[in-house]
Amino acid sequence: MTDTVKLDGEPDLDDLLSAMAVNSPNDYYTLLRGTAPVYWNQRWNGWIVTGYDEVVAGFRNHTQLSSDRFAGPFGEELSASASDYQQLFSFLSKFFVWKDQPYHTRVRSLVNKAFTPRSVEVLRPRIQELVAELAQPLGDAGEIDFFARFAFTLPVIVIAEYLGVPEDGRDRMRQWAEDLGAVIFVSGHDEDRMRKGDEAMSELADFLRPVVRAKREQPTSDLLSGMAQAEERGDFLSEDEVIANAILMVFAGHETTMNLLANGMVAFSQFPDQWQLLRTTPELADKAIEEVLRFDGPIRAMARWAREPLTIGDQPIAQGDRVLLVQHAANHDPAKFADPDTLDISRWPNRHTAFGQGIHTCLGAPLARLEAQEAFVALANAFPTFDVVEQDHDYVPTVVSRSLKRLHLSFHTS
């Protein structure tokens, strides 16, 4: 990461990975939005959308703005390296999130029922139990690695149990997820990262293939069985499609929730009065989670490309142009949110864009909300105060995610 500053001392607005862009996104996006809410970035070679109305309009426009990573400008980039990393690209190309209509909605509707608020509610008692088990030993234990002890562990167990993934793979899951995340979230294609991503994908697929086959023969009530049976009924999904989308859910089911929990703790450390408010008013849990998602959600931005010419706000976009919809910027647009850089867990209404909008809105949103509610309420209830060990927060330099490199906390029981 370089702190790119132009010779005249002005920050380089075209550097999406400058220290300012990565570590102080609110400052960076304010500058971008002030220049133009739909801004042409020479270096990224596309439009950076930072105004709330413009970001929402972009998300809802699935007919003109494509999510297909294997076509258009992103496809050209990927195809250059696809032949070297066949496993990786074979499975990535089957991720339904990176598809357009009608395929996207066909697959989504097969798995949607498992992720509605009504469906995930059955997980609440188990999540409460896990949260209590993980939180209890943190008290007065000195400095703890919050990722290893809580933020990674909770969501990975929840999604693995829900999917029906056997326990023996869970320890390896974090490394696989990290290696895949480096491919999915980081732009550019350096060889080491691609090779690791390719290996992780192969290992995950090898791990899941016998599981999927077993579920097809002896289905249980979990999500993998549901997908495997859809395949049995001739319902569009091949074995590789089931495996690819199981990998997607294993990955998406914990990587983002993990970062939501970590980012939330940092947010509460900056606004300790809000921690106290949550502690004394746990019925604010629903609103608090929406506010944490708005304030510092795990996803910064999502990329699209223009299938046909369109207009976002006042800005004409040409066919084939890349478009980056910056959720983090939309969520801090003062035209939409009063006092946007203040964490206010009573804020309502709070129509943030942390989960996106439109047909690609996060499938796991109800599950993420449930896990985060239970986690933050239990932690606030158990620990009146906590300290963050790191003086400065160091984030993984990516355009699309908002993930801390490390987070150590000490929780106090009094």
Binding site: R60, N61, K113, P117, F355, Q357, I359, T361, P366
Partner: protein, 79 residues
């Protein structure tokens, strides 16, 4: 609310989409293709007198990831 008129007879089943909850995912259109369509702002709009059945509308309400849909017959809330 569109569709309310259809309920005035008392027996017609109808649905409401809460505009502050809907984010336009479109799962309702999969479950009840006749009952819902995207409006100008790309959010879901209930289509009254479309022939959508009670079963379809309830399936749409249950499938909604945003819990944005309520289904009613006369004054009775079914979902």
């Amino acid at each position: 609310v569109s569709g309310e008129g259809a309920s005035s007879g008392g027996t017609e089943v109808w649905a409401k989409v809460a505009p502050d909850r809907c984010v336009g995912i479109g799962m309702c259109m999969v479950e009840a293709p006749r009952g819902f369509d995207f409006g100008d702002d790309q959010l879901s709009v209930f289509q009254p007198n479309s022939g959508a059945t009670e079963q379809e509308l309830i399936a749409a309400a249950d499938a909604c990831p945003s819990s944005a849909i309520s289904v009613l017959r006369a004054a009775r809330q079914l979902r």
